[in-house]
């Protein structure tokens, strides 16, 4: 049976790419671990946090993002945004 992919799946891939590209684009950064990622999104939510985490945790295995805590907060601006990351 084929799996049904929610849009959280494709957004998880985009988030991973955006963060890894950001880290790679700054040669002054030497990131060993990403401790946490802070997101904001409008209400009604664009992603269901639990579903997003499910796909994201699978995708980031073996990268510096593995194990990062995902923090979601509500924002008035419409959309789904990556705000900040905390790194070592």
């Amino acid at each position: 049976m084929k799996e049904f992919f929610l849009h959280e799946s494709s957004l998880a891939k985009d988030v991973m790419e955006i963060i890894l590209e950001t880290i790679a684009s700054d040669i002054t950064l030497s990131v060993k671990t990403v401790n946490s990622i802070q997101f904001s999104q409008s209400y009604p939510p664009i992603v269901v946090a639990e579903s997003f985490e499910f796909y994201f945790e699978e995708m980031i295995k073996g990268t510096v993002l593995e194990g990062a805590e995902l923090i979601f907060r509500e924002s008035e601006k419409h959309g789904f945004f990556i705000e900040t990351i905390d790194v070592d």
Binding site: E3, F5, L6, L29, I46, E83, I85, D86
Partner: protein
């Protein structure tokens, strides 16, 4: 150490969507994104619409479907350019899929391109495909609570077609209440009551299509 990113996760899709729209404007083709829940009548509406306009207006259809080509097969007899996108389980079409699909079309030969999205009242709301107008087909058999439950979809629509109106009484649906609910959630959307199976109810829909096609042609003439 904190690193500021402040990026919209939808930016990749939105950028491609904007490129698609520029291309559609250059080619002067009016593009519609048809959305609804599964079974609300998107394909039936396209069939009835093609019956009414296909001889006068040059049409093409992109069919989005999870796995099958059943909807596209229903449209084969119209002999129009027809592209099937199977999302292989994906819950929506995205701008990248449309970008690749339209390469197979002679856009300059078209007046209108219908994009039938995957039947889903959640995810397609967030994905700009590059369309000019988004149409939501909402059938009375779904009940009168859907505008309140699926805010994003109803807010994102430019035109909301209340479909299967011949079943309203059987389904205990008060069409005045349904329209009031829609207007409460999206005051700027145009609303029309239709039965996709009865071409006699599609007059205002066809007028709306013609108005938008003519508007697109005028924009292109003024640019040239």
């Amino acid at each position: 150490m904190e690193i500021k990113i402040f990026k919209d996760v939808m930016m990749k899709n939105n950028a491609i969507g904007e490129d698609n729209r520029k291309l559609f404007n250059e080619k002067s083709v009016f593009v519609l994104n048809l959305t609804s829940s599964p079974g609300a009548g998107k394909t039936t509406l396209i069939e009835s619409t093609l019956n009414l306009i296909n001889k006068k207006i040059k049409c093409a259809v992109i069919e989005g479907d999870l796995y099958t080509s059943r909807d596209a097969e229903r449209l084969e007899d119209f002999n129009i350019p027809l592209i099937q996108i199977n999302t292989e389980g994906g819950c929506h079409l995205d701008a990248r899929q449309i970008y690749h699909s339209v390469k197979e079309l002679s856009l300059e030969a078209l007046d209108i391109l219908f994009i039938e999205n995957v039947g889903n009242l959640v995810c397609p709301a967030e994905y700009d495909l590059g369309e000019h107008k988004r149409v939501l087909i909402y059938s009375v058999t779904e009940g009168d609570d859907k505008p309140a439950k699926y805010l994003n979809m109803f807010q994102a629509a430019d035109l909301i077609l209340i479909n299967k109106i011949e079943l309203a009484e059987l389904c205990h649906i008060d069409l005045e209440y349904v329209e009031m609910e829609i207007r409460r959630i999206n005051p700027s959307a145009e609303i029309s009551r239709i039965s996709a199976l009865a071409e006699s109810t599609l007059g205002s829909w066809i007028q709306w299509l013609n108005k938008n096609i003519q508007s697109k042609e005028k924009q292109n003439e003024s640019r040239n």
